[in-house]
């Protein structure tokens, strides 16, 4: 008896086997393809492989609109937030507010969540490194290692691309998360400030190899071709996002302590190669954040207190080094961040002093005046069409409430939707979406509140297991299998 049914069944069986095999093959291939897609599609910006959604722009054309004809050397003495806030309200009133803030702060110390004994100990340990910071050395660094001349070998010679790659590798090795470089010549010369917070910065013709330094209470810079090495030092994100806590202050202060190690190491490295490498102890000589925005590290945001990195969001700081080693001119990037800031406004919404531009305010070339002192403009470098924070109201609130720093309480940086971890895959998905199109930006911005991001628990922080320094140092690593 012929068994047609069984013949059909065998055919079906073979079809099914083939289908299952194809399915297994696709499934097996899918995982590594998905895993490697980012690598396959990664773009190379800022000299490193970045996620595919971070796109290079043309040189000197960041996402925020700038007018190079308006760029002047910035006199930081005049626009230091505490200086202009004191000018706005008078020294007596400023002093009264400081006392008021001190009383409030002291009343919370050792009793409020995040201000307890161990929190304060963490803050003190992080910041002080004051002795560690003092060991950093002024201007040219320790200047203890032998120069090529002293070693009897020629000075290091490389083309700008080779030099940039080498500088980046060394600086990351010493402790930077990311590095961006560019020249300080021609129209870029005006990025060198006219003063830091207290001292004038002056160009002079100096003997070859002389980096200048602090002389007669002025910073003397050699009037030669210079390049800027900007480097990023992330905050411990979870620690940083604990509101007005001592843990937040510890996270913010930790990068200065790390700077005291990274900076002299890099300066000695450059000295050993035969090049100058100097940085102001007075900070800032230039704008590390400006360097990051111009050369691929970040984009400007609404808060303007900090720029926003595609990888680290707003939880980071920038420092800068000046050198006579010829480096590349790296282009800015577009990750959709500045465009996102137009429709987000979360930082402004959470600002306790209402010092940030709300959603109904458009970017402007004009630096507006402070509401605390109508005759005094809010701080800002008026060469970009941006959002201008009211640093006076920010500073006045700060000194009378949390006594944080001249640059405020940092709540704006804490609640930025770009501060995301590596646990949930949605973050990369959303970053890619935001970088590609802006039509979902409002929805994504609203979801930050729905999802409750940016509000860490200072008590719970102590019971968690975070990586070294509290930082994911693998984010920028594209080789060695670290970034999984």
């Amino acid at each position: 008896m012929s068994k047609f049914h069984s013949v059909v069944a065998r055919r079906d069986f073979m079809k099914g086997l083939g289908l299952a095999g194809a399915g297994l093959g696709v499934a097996g291939a899918a995982a590594p393809v998905i895993h490697d897609l980012d690598e396959l599609m990664s773009s190379t910006t800022a000299g490193v492989k970045r996620s595919w959604w971070i796109k290079e722009r043309e040189l000197d054309n960041p996402t925020i609109e700038v007018d190079w004809s308006m760029l002047k050397r910035y006199d930081h003495k005049l626009v230091n937030p505490s200086t202009i806030a004191k000018q706005a309200v008078g020294s007596d009133e400023y002093g009264r507010l400081q006392v008021e803030g001190r009383v409030l702060s002291n009343s919370q110390q050792y009793s409020a969540p995040g201000r307890m004994h161990r929190d304060r100990a963490l803050r003190d340990g992080s910041g002080g490194g004051s002795k560690v910071r003092a060991a950093r050395g002024d201007w040219g660094g320790p200047m203890g290692t032998a120069t090529p001349e002293e070693r009897g070998i020629p000075r290091w010679q490389g083309n700008p691309e080779e030099n940039t790659r080498m500088v980046r590798t060394a600086l990351v090795f010493f402790g930077a998360a990311a590095v961006t470089v560019g020249g300080l010549n021609g129209k870029h010369r005006n990025f060198i400030n006219k003063s830091d917070r207290s001292r004038d910065i002056v160009f002079q013709d100096l003997p070859a190899g002389d980096p200048g330094g602090l002389i007669d209470n002025r910073y003397i810079i050699p009037d030669i071709p210079l390049w800027e090495i900007g480097w990023q030092s992330p905050h411990a994100r979870e620690a940083y996002s604990t509101g007005q806590s001592d843990i937040w202050k510890a996270a913010n202060g930790a990068r200065y302590t790390r700077r005291a190690i990274v900076q002299p190491a890099m300066q000695e490295f450059m000295r050993a190669l035969g090049y100058m490498c100097f940085a102001g102890t007075g900070y800032p000589i230039t704008s590390g954040q400006g360097n990051a925005c111009l050369h691929g590290g970040a984009e400007t945001g609404r808060a303007a207190n900090c720029v926003i990195s595609p990888e680290y969001g707003s939880t980071h700081g920038y420092f800068e080094l000046l050198t006579d080693m010829e480096l590349e001119e790296e282009p800015p990037v577009d990750a959709g961040i500045w465009r996102f800031c137009q429709t987000c406004g979360r930082c402004a919404e959470y600002c306790p002093s209402n010092s940030l531009a709300p959603l109904d305010v458009e970017p402007s070339w004009e630096v507006k005046t402070s509401r605390e002192a109508p005759g005094i403009p809010m701080t800002g470098h008026p060469w970009k069409k941006g959002f201008w924070p009211d640093r006076i109201s920010c500073n006045l609130w700060n000194i009378s409430n949390v006594q944080a720093s001249s640059y405020g309480c940092h709540i704006c940086a804490q609640v930025c939707p770009f501060n995301q971890g590596q646990g949930a895959i949605a973050h990369q998905f959303v970053k890619g979406l935001v970088a590609t199109t802006g039509i979902f930006n409002s929805f994504v911005a609203n979801m930050a509140d729905v999802f409750g991001y940016g509000h860490g628990d200072p008590e719970a922080w102590w019971d968690r297991s975070y990586p070294q320094f509290g930082i994911d140092t693998t984010i920028m690593a594209k080789d060695g299998g670290y970034n999984k």
Binding site: G16, L19, A20, L24, A31, G421, A424, Y453
Partner: protein, 91 residues
Amino acid sequence: MDFIIALILGGIIGASVLWMRNRGIVVRWYEWLIGIVGLFLLWFTIANYFGSMTEFEPSAATAFLLVTGLPSIILLAVAGSLAWRRNHSTV
């Protein structure tokens, strides 16, 4: 882990296709599309729920259940319902 999840999902899909063919169940292309989108959202929800919990963001984890998990259930139910109704309708 991703490899294992992909294997399991591939196996489930393959087995489902075989089962439906054996039963003579016909699935239209749009039902496939709705089902695949629903399945993707379900995987997205589960992955981000546990990812958010590892980030100690319980609010976000719960939000994923609602924002993407609920639509995934709805889409899977719609796809299944459409296929079921057509294959069990009496003329």
